[in-house]
Amino acid sequence: MAGATAPTLGAAERSAAPVPEWLEVVGIRVGAGVAALAIGAIFLAATGHDPWTAYREMAVGALGSPYAIEQTMIKAIPLMLTGLGVALAFTMGLWNIGAEGQLVAGALAASWLALTASTLPAPVMLPGLILLGAAGGAAWAFIPAVLKAFVGVNEIISTLMLNYVALLWVDYLVFGSWSDPTAFSFPYSRPFPEQAHFPTLVGDIHIGLVFALIAALALAALLQRTHWGYEIRTIGASLPAARYAGMRVRRNVLLVMAASGALAGLAGVGEVSGVIHRIQQGLSPGYGFTAIIVAWVARLNPWAVVLVAVLFAALLNGGFVIQTAGVPAAIAYMIQAFVLFLVLASEYLLRRVRRRRALARMRAVLEVGR
């Protein structure tokens, strides 16, 4: 079966797969999605909500009208950008859990420009917002990158700690020097001037969508077609191998974290300039955390991130809609986490079953050969 070459464990494992790989990958995800919805239904029923009604209203609220689809797409934009950023870092084995903080840092940097240089004309303002936002996110991610590269500080904890710090900066500014004098101490900044509003494509969907798609294209090309992408993948797959091959790991930690943060920062600009047109407390309902699930379910594949981001945005949007019917929006977050659990569990289960079968088969072959 293995031809002239000696059978390896990997080849034996693959030959044990009864269906093509892509079908299995998609199948597991669809199955996980359905099962997660079923588990969510049990939770809904157990807490006194009718799951069928809740799900129907979620679906209608997320996709049932042009307005609903528009709202879903608006929520998909930050999920795509943060999801792409997280996927890039994860590909290199860098646990950037700080997309939420980097999003906020990008929003802060852009808001600073919009609020302090409010008379700039749009042709200067808009590129300025985008550049500053990306730079803000990159700078926020650069802190844990430097700590990781030069001091060896675990990036999971450092990126997470910086999330809280970034969120508190927003509080500090919107209650302080940026506060809207007409908002009666609500946690809002002054509104942005007109020329700091992102142009829209269809309805309220802003040009952030174009940036997200360009980012997906760029990331796919980077990872699959460039030497740098090859380095990133190699470092992610095996750090000793990458070191042995002379790859500069430290430099890549700095660059990849900064790029990852820049994407999250762009998401932040999109939220303040494209959606709320000011900066406020709670400007992100945890996009940077949902991005982690999006990236994993998408297997860190940039185009799959775009697709999964839309589906998860629909779930989030549906969650917001059913809040008015008294169902906690958190049901959407629970279902998302369930999807990830089920994907993880089924993939590892399959891998173990195959490995065991392959081992048994190889042992049998060795017995015969003796």
């Binding site: 700590l147 809280y164 569990a345 490995r355």
Partner: protein
């Protein structure tokens, strides 16, 4: 600061450090067995909300604490099932659990927002000990859960370093192959450590919603679970150093809040950044100063006998 203010500050330090001790010992046990549990924050939140729900419904604080521990343990059992039995990647699984716990607690906690805990834990001065100068007001005029944290640290230290099962636990985290050869059931040991660890995280959450705040608010842990994980690194997996770390952190946090009362003109919002920045600084110093790694050698590595 007057001596009385210093003593008050130290008493607050002990209270602030208490949830970190519970959660930190929980994480320490799991990591000593070789399983990284990044879901602590989620388990704390689930513990906080379920404990609060039971307190509100039954007005029995001890039943509330037990429920919180059971809930934290149940979520942790999910982590053990995935990481120990299936061998899933521990970082991803833990992150997923943290997010799940956040979502679940927000989902379950909706009806309890804005209700005060009807049966908060109150200070119970220990007869005799509470009369000691300085130590009395700092350590022995606290609530019963704080006292249990002292017992927990002593017990954890003794169990890990001075008993046979404790030795087996450490063996599972250092070299599961050796532990297996010694006749230790690695799977059972890891399940036990992760579940007990989750129960302690649930207890930490219950401390917040039943004694510290005492009320339920969404995301009320505000990163304490992650800080507990950082403290475990700081402690080099030793409960006594964990205690020191928790109080050091508690002191920094308490001092931040007290700065204003001392008449220093600062923003309370900026002071709330201190715990997170303090954690970062501690990690930086730790990495800069440490000579060799003391991490359990098999941390994060699944173990299957046949492979």
């Amino acid at each position: 600061m007057t001596p009385d203010q210093v003593i008050a500050l130290l008493a607050v330090t002990v209270v602030t450090g208490t949830p970190l001790i519970f959660a930190g010992v929980g994480e320490l046990l799991a990591e000593r067995s070789g399983v990284l549990n990044l879901g602590i924050e989620g388990m704390m939140l689930v513990g906080a909300v379920s404990g609060f729900a039971v307190a509100a419904a039954t007005r029995n604080p001890w039943l509330a604490v037990l429920t919180a521990m059971a809930a934290g343990g149940a979520v942790a059992a999910g982590h053990a099932l995935l990481t120990v039995t299936l061998g899933t990647e521990q970082v991803t699984t833990g992150l997923a659990l943290a997010l799940f716990g956040t979502g679940l607690s927000a989902f379950l906690g909706k009806p309890f927002i804005g209700i005060p805990n009807p049966v908060p834990f109150r200070a119970v001065p220990l007869p005799g000990l509470s009369q000691l100068p300085v130590l009395g007001p700092v350590f022995f005029r606290q609530d019963l859960l704080v006292y249990s944290s002292y017992v927990l640290i002593a017990l954890a230290w003794w169990w890990i370093y001075r008993t046979r099962p404790g030795l087996h636990l450490r063996a599972c985290g250092e070299s599961p192959e050796t532990a297996d050869a010694m006749g230790v059931d690695v799977t059972a040991m890891r399940y036990g450590a992760v579940i007990v660890g989750g129960a302690l995280a649930g207890l930490a959450g219950a401390y917040l919603s039943l004694a510290y705040t005492p009320a339920w608010t969404e995301n009320m842990t505000a990163g304490l679970g992650w800080i507990a994980i950082a403290l475990v690194i700081f402690s080099t997996w030793n409960p006594l150093r964990l205690l020191a770390g928790a109080y050091l952190f508690g002191a920094a946090d308490a001092l931040g809040f007290r700065v204003q009362l001392l008449g220093v003109e600062t923003s309370s919002i900026l002071l709330r950044m201190l715990p997170y920045l303090f954690t970062l600084v501690v990690l930086v110093l730790l990495n800069a100063l440490r000579r060799q790694s003391l991490v359990p050698a098999a941390l994060g590595r699944p173990y299957f006998r046949e492979e």
